[in-house]
Amino acid sequence: ADIQPALLYDLGGKFDKSFNEASYNGAEKFKAETGIAYVEFEVSNATQREQALRRFAEDGRNPIAMAGFSWADALEKIAVEFPETKFAIIDMVVDKPNVRSVVYKEQEGSYLVGVMAAMASKTKKVGFIGGMDIPLIRRFGCGYVGGAKAAGATDVIQNMTGDTPAAWNDPAKGGEIAKTQIDQGADVIYAAAGGTGVGVLQAAADAGKLGIGVDSNQNGLQPGKVLTSMVKRVDVAVYNTFMDAKNDKFTGGINDLGLKEGGVDYAMDDNNKALVDDAMKAAVEKAKADIIAGTVKVHDYMSDNSCPY
């Protein structure tokens, strides 16, 4: 019998231009390839998490993948209640045999795009724009600063969009922040801000500067104006979870995915070919190799809530 996979999204909603959307894409890919349908649910408040999880588990959904660290508490419970069900959680570790925890070293990917940004920048000033001000986003920022500084950026202007969830969906403000950073001299801007990022890339493009996408490959949003994207392969994680379950290869445990594991990376495609010269490419590849080899350690903001760069 076919498996009955289920996918759960976080408050941001399926279409958050971020990990929710990425996991959705992964599931869609799986569906397209195997023809196996999956069920999904978008929570609209914290209470629904446990409810939704149990609900799917009771209905015999298996495996059940969920995006977002906020699922952890609920999963802790449910995973025990349903030892037979296979779970996968993105962005958080839940230490249960039947749970696959997928976490990413966003700092590493961000480091790489930081390097590219610094090299692409003429002013040697680059910008970072985060969405809502939470530690996870600061981890992106910190890695980025590290890379940029390492590649000779003199200054990294950092902004957060706001303190409410609205900060994830305010492209107008995102664009304005981008313009401000450009006024301050930044000419490459990295946005880790969900829907707000759309506005950032737009503004950068409008001003003839470069933007950097996040999570999924956003090079296509402003072709030729997006230097690259820090891709975080949440889609792959979801896809693999479903696939492994289908082929009885599902394993619990922690997948800590960095550059080495290809969990994070920078995106190259036709849209940004022209923007990335060989020097840049070489430098990034070198940085990547160093990190994989461990000769360069990228600081993880959340390990100590601070950024040394």
Binding site: F15, D16, D133, Q158, N159, K173, G175, T180
Partner: protein, 323 residues
């Protein structure tokens, strides 16, 4: 000189940030002056933004987009009217309802039509309202002081920005120099007087709401077709409520409204600009404080300088002839 540039830049972004607030604020002014509270500005802006971007991307025309934005937003305004004028419903409840419906339907339709996650396709430059460069703007840029002011602040905005600022004197003129304005103000103060004068209270208020719809439509279009190249779910991000605050701040007067919105825009621009950069004397302040700064300052200004704001007397109460 460097500081001067910074100032110019902050002011420039002040203008861009205030425009959506200003349009929404004037929109609210029309309906509240006519005695209809409108907490649904947010929703009407949102549907405007969506309809605008959607139409623009489908018909490849910015102006068609704008037209559609206005049309739909007016339609929602009329729903508000139907509830609060024709059926004497609670105006705040009706406004809340409109915000709900707007939030839900834009995402749903967006996904159904474009399958881009509630987002409309990215608009090409000819599907948006580009910047208008004024004659000699580039030539004069080098001129000290005046040059930047002219070429940065005055020139180089999209047509909707100029529309917004022209809407201020226009609204003032309508309100205080035309028959319609006189009647509108009257119906907001004492509908019975209007009624006994043989004018239809309902029709008058409907017309006011249509004006509201037009302006919120433009406001939405500005968000999705000028500041951004397409619609993103919930992209109004609370601007409707800020506009409402601005309206009260402005004591329901058009010119004040402009200054109130510019103030909000300025505080916002300032907090963006200052984020992360250490301040003189104070030093480095936590980001959250910077985020809250505009709101804190608003409260301080309100308490410190703006006196009591008396709303239109008939505001919020449905007009009932026979008790």
């Amino acid at each position: 000189m460097d500081l001067f540039n910074a100032v110019i830049q902050v002011l420039d972004s002040t203008i861009r940030l205030s425009v959506p607030l200003l349009l929404a604020c004037l929109a609210g002014l029309y309906s509240e002056r006519a005695g209809i509270f409108d907490i649904g500005l947010e929703g009407k802006m949102l549907v405007g933004a969506f309809a605008g971007a959607a139409a623009a991307s489908v018909f490849h025309s910015a102006y068609l987009g704008l037209g559609m934005a206005i049309l739909i937003s007016v339609a929602f305004a009329l729903v508000h009217g139907f509830a609060s004028i024709t059926h004497r419903g609670n105006q705040i409840v009706s406004g809340v309802a409109i915000n709900f419906i707007a939030a839900g339907s834009t995402i749903m339709l967006g996904q159904a039509w474009f399958q881009q996650g509630g987002r409309t396709p990215a608009l090409s430059s000819d599907e948006r309202f580009g910047a208008i460069i004024w004659p000699g703007a580039d030539a004069l840029r080098s001129v000290p002081i005046l040059g930047p002011i002219y070429s940065e602040l005055i020139s180089g905005h999209s047509v909707l920005v100029y529309v917004a600022f022209l809407a201020v004197p226009f609204t003032w003129w309508v309100l205080f120099r035309t028959r319609f304005g006189l009647r509108m103000r009257a119906v907001g103060e004492n509908p019975a007087a209007v009624d006994t004068a043989g004018i239809s209270v309902a029709w008058l208020r409907y017309r006011a709401l249509i004006c509201t719809g037009v302006l919120t439509g433009i406001a939405g279009a500005y968000l999705s077709m000028v500041q951004n190249g397409g619609f993103v779910k919930d992209m109004t991000a609370g601007k409707g409520y800020i506009a409402l605050a601005a309206l009260i701040f402005a004591k329901w007067k058009p010119v004040n409204a402009m200054f109130a919105c510019l103030l909000f825009g300025f505080l916002d621009a300032l907090s963006i600009r200052l984020q992360g950069t250490p301040l003189p004397l104070i030093g480095k302040v936590p980001v959250q404080l910077m985020q809250a700064l505009p709101y804190i300052l608003t409260v301080i200004l309100l308490a410190g300088f703006i006196g009591k704001a008396i709303p239109p007397r008939a505001g919020g109460v449905p007009y009932v002839k026979e008790r």
